[in-house]
Symmetry: C2
Subunit: 119 residues, 2 copies
């Protein structure tokens, strides 16, 4: 069946959560948002493209930082209201220069950083 | 620093997206939603608990199906607006009886199922 980005279930703002996972290591790198056009552009260009809610603009990941995400595969969940992008991540995914955005763990009721910024 | 679920950044509905990942295999199993109380209950009980938007009720994963998620670790992202739960998944995570909800891939512009239901 041909894939049509319009058939996904977007929220009231026209957005769908997109989980980025490193295709090699399996690390969950980040969660961001896409609209239908961002999904289409990601598939067409192979460069993972989000919709920045804060800037209200397309966000080609790594366009300014160089920390790009090359699309390896896009997957859709059972409810069609979330996508998973398997990516080849260039450098850190997080704007804090850490490999992933999920560098804070809750252990024994306390928060702790479990990952340092890349030097 | 003690972790307080109230310090997370919830959306206008009081919800935060929660990504469940198999702690052993690294598979991304599903995305669902939590409110502050669901985060607190998940940490307190070790049984991953979501907020079901369709039923408007707490959803202790696997309570009826037996396909529970035991919490291994909860992580918070840099913006504090998404959580990652590393889990020990009992049986399939997806209500379609597949291991994960992300069983549909887009390849060469077409959708295809890449995972069969567990027999």
């Amino acid at each position: 069946m041909p894939f049509d980005p319009q058939t996904l279930a977007y929220d009231s703002n026209g957005l769908i959560p997109a989980i980025a996972q490193d295709h090699g290591t399996g690390e969950v790198l980040m969660l961001a948002w896409m609209n239908a056009e961002a999904v289409a552009q990601t598939l067409a260009t192979g460069r993972v493209t989000y919709w920045s809610r804060s800037r209200a603009a397309f966000w080609i990941k790594g366009e300014t930082s160089g920390h790009t995400q090359r699309l390896v595969e896009l997957r859709v969940d059972c409810d069609r209201d979330c996508v998973l992008v398997l990516v080849a991540q260039e450098g850190p995914a997080c704007h804090t220069n850490r490999r992933t955005c999920f560098y804070t763990a809750v252990r024994d009721g306390a928060e702790m950083e479990i990952m340092a910024p890349i030097p």
